[in-house]
């Protein structure tokens, strides 16, 4: 097997690992560890450079082998493994994978990549672009998992929470990765102990991590993201909070300051009105695939830029806390019941959207216990590649997720709804009293309405800039612009279509694809 170092391709240095007819392209942000396995070689991939050795060692130590029924059960939710044995390959991708992983058949062989080669000259597909609307419309910003199509005609996504088996470049089997180790309920005290043990393990994994920044929201989740990691590294941890000057947020500032004070960290405050949803970023934000996360790109940029100014290696956020401990993980994800409006889509585009909606609703990966609705990782690669910091939350750690699963099992057995009381029970010393006693969570509905008021013209301009391409894929730009302006005039209308297609428009604009002739098309 050769592991040559090749020069930059498609806009960034990408390492290429080639074994016979199987080529693996790995972007610099993704760390790789390689080891021999029976008859071949295996690669462990993670965005967490400083943790990959421990993660890979732990995984391989317990790995039952490539063909074992539960071969991938112990894979960390954010990571991936690629095994190559002769002409065969197996790609396992964690349910909360924090970097892209796509594949394309080659003659002969197979190409696997952590970079979707958008500007490589490969042809686009209208259906691949339009299908992203479905995911955005029914389950917001999670990377679509009901279908594997990407905007490129010959590239497909490896679904999160799946293991794809290839032979000679063809998919021969797709397997759902179930991280659940059992469904029998254990006593509440045991669950609390397991939660604590998992958080302590997370804390140990963060030791020696250097300077870090935590987004202090004043809630359980960001407190648990920061507190275990702060132990022993408090001097190197900084805080940042966002504040909105609105009625519903009037208690938040004091709460955020009290939280930062309890951690003993300095905190800066940023005015939320300077980073409304849809506010464009100053740095180019080119995601591999369209994502509605771009509506929060300015917020992400300001926080990440502050991290870079501190030379922070890690950016701690409490993402995934609600999705793990305040959600019934034994149930399928509840999808939005009313579909997007028919009006902005041509007949052909509407058929694609309907099919993608059906695929999403009937997807085998809709069950929450698989971990596919825990975390939206859209920003992680961009933040790391642009600002140098790795986004980190404890709620994607497999041990934490399994503790949350056990909590859901206990709650189901006792006829109650999961909530975060188990976190307060497990880690009272890690959650400041002010947070444990806080009133509740402030919704962002008012912020979003004001965002449409402030950004309606920007949204309409974004659609206008790629009108030619949107029309080509079957989207009515005039309808979208009218809807954006209605939302900007405080009208209580659905924003689902604007949100979903803005993700596409932003993506096209970011990649400089403004006219149909800018790229090749295949269907």
């Amino acid at each position: 097997m050769t592991v040559p170092a090749l020069p930059a391709v498609a806009g960034g240095g990408v390492a290429v690992v080639r074994d016979r007819a199987i080529e693996i392209r790995v972007r610099p942000a993704v760390a790789l560890r390689t080891r021999p396995i029976a008859g071949g070689v295996a690669h462990y991939l993670s965005l967490h450079d400083a943790e990959i050795d421990a993660r890979a060692d732990t995984f391989w130590d317990g790995w039952p082998g490539l063909n074992a029924p539960y071969a991938w059960r112990d894979l960390e939710l954010t990571d991936a493994v690629i095994c190559v044995v002769g002409e065969r390959a197996c790609v396992a991708r964690g349910a909360a994978a924090s970097f892209p992983l796509v594949w394309s058949p080659r003659a002969p062989g197979l190409a696997l990549s952590t970079v979707l080669p958008v500007k490589s000259g490969e042809p686009f597909t209208r259906a691949g672009l339009v299908a992203t609307v479905a995911g955005a419309c029914v389950h917001a910003s999670y990377e679509p998992n009901g279908f594997p199509a990407t905007p490129l005609a010959h590239w497909w996504r490896v679904r999160r929470g799946s293991a794809l088996h290839f032979d000679g470049g063809r998919v021969v089997h797709e397997q759902v990765i179930n991280p659940c180790a059992g469904r029998a309920w254990v006593p509440r005290e045991v669950i609390a102990q397991n939660v604590r043990a998992a958080l302590d393990a997370y804390g140990r994994s963060q030791r020696g991590g250097g300077c870090s920044l935590v987004e202090v929201s004043g809630g359980f989740d960001s407190s648990l993201a920061a507190a275990p990691a702060a132990d022993g590294s408090r001097a190197a941890m900084h805080g940042i909070s966002v504040h909105y000057p609105y009625y519903e947020f009037r208690f938040e500032r004091l709460l955020q300051q009290a939280t930062a004070d309890s951690f003993g960290i300095a905190r800066v405050e940023v005015d939320g009105t300077s980073m409304y949803p849809y506010s464009p970023a100053e740095a180019p934000a080119r995601f591999d695939a369209p994502s509605v996360f771009v509506t929060g790109i300015r917020h992400a940029e300001i926080v990440a830029r502050h991290a870079a100014s501190l030379s922070a290696q890690r950016l701690y956020m409490g993402h995934g806390g609600d999705q793990t401990f305040a959600t019934d993980l034994l149930a399928p994800e509840v999808l939005v019941t009313n579909p997007p409006a028919r009006h902005p889509f041509s007949a052909h585009a509407w058929r694609v959207v309907r099919q993608a909606l059906d695929d999403t609703r009937t997807s085998a990966w809709r069950d929450r216990w698989l971990g596919t609705f825990v975390y939206d990782a859209a920003q992680d690669v961009w933040v790391k590649e642009t600002f140098g910091a790795t986004v980190r939350t404890p709620f994607t750690d497999l041990a934490v997720f399994r503790a949350a699963l056990a909590w859901s099992v206990w709650c189901r057995a006792h006829g109650t709804v999961p909530d975060k009381s188990i976190l307060a029970e497990a880690a009272p010393d890690l959650i400041p009293a002010s947070v444990r006693q806080r009133r509740g969570k402030v919704p962002y509905d008012g912020v979003w309405m004001r965002a449409y008021r402030a950004q309606a013209d920007h949204i309409a301009t974004a659609f206008e800039g790629v009108r030619d391409v949107l029309a080509h894929i079957g989207v009515d730009v005039n309808w979208l612009q009218r809807r954006a302006r209605d939302l900007g005039a405080w009208q209580a209308k659905s924003d689902r279509e604007v949100l979903a297609i803005y993700a596409i428009a932003h993506w096209l604009g970011a990649w400089g694809i403004q006219r149909v002739s800018d790229v090749a098309w295949s269907g």
Partner: protein
């Protein structure tokens, strides 16, 4: 109890920008977004049920704390409540767009008077906790929680009226409030007793800016 005791009603509007403002109309239980000049016009105010109410510059939420929420009753047996109470809750819910909230509050007070007489109560006691030991905050919270466990879709509107019913039947005055999560049209209703909200499924009243208040004496 005297039927002539007052119901003091106050309202305010919440501007969303330089031109438009939000107003709540108790007649049809709806919130309206319109130009400020139109929102303050007397014919409009009469049409939406604010003709007899006092306009205040800003209505402060009197609630200082929520006594109980749903999590408090996790794992605990659900109290037994009479069927008529469940029926009253459902009637409150069904009536919101038909019976003006002020009328519903007066009807609630009338029912409370009957309950008061049934219990053999006399004049209301002086202090809040001694008004009726059998209807303290815990009992009110437990009762509302138990009623909601028996209905299909718990909602803040009937919850507020049921809380008012229980409070008034114990000889305690209360305040009904309706608020909005501006600039959306999302509304919430709640009932406050001496600065305390006895029960909310989840504490959320504080995010809703009060648009309308009704003080109800027993």
């Amino acid at each position: 109890m005297s039927v002539l005791r007052r119901c003091t009603e106050s309202w305010t509007d919440v501007p969303v920008d330089a031109e438009l403002t939000l107003v709540y109309g108790p007649r049809w239980a709806r919130v309206y977004l319109l130009p400020s000049a139109d929102a303050l016009a007397p014919p409009f105010l009469r049409a939406i049920g604010l003709g007899g109410a006092t306009r205040d510059g800003e209505l402060a939420d009197p609630v200082e704390r929520v006594h109980r929420d749903r999590t408090h009753f996790t794992g605990a047996p659900i109290a037994s409540v009479p069927d008529w109470m469940v029926a009253a809750y459902q009637a409150f819910d069904a009536s919101r767009h038909v019976v003006p909230l002020r009328v519903a509050a007066l009807a609630t007070r009338a029912i409370a008077r009957v309950l008061w007489r049934t219990r053999g109560g006399g004049a209301p006691a002086a202090g809040p906790d001694t008004a009726n030991p059998s209807l303290d905050l815990d009992t009110i919270a437990r009762t509302v929680h138990a009623v909601e466990a028996r209905v299909r879709t718990p909602d803040c509107y009937p919850r507020a009226l049921l809380t008012a019913l229980l409070s008034l039947s114990a000889g305690r005055a209360c305040m009904l409030l309706v608020g909005v999560l501006a600039p959306t049209r999302k509304m919430h209703a709640w009932c406050c007793l001496d600065g305390v909200l006895p029960y909310e499924r989840q504490p959320e009243h504080y995010i809703y800016r009060p648009l309308w208040m009704l003080w109800v004496d027993p």
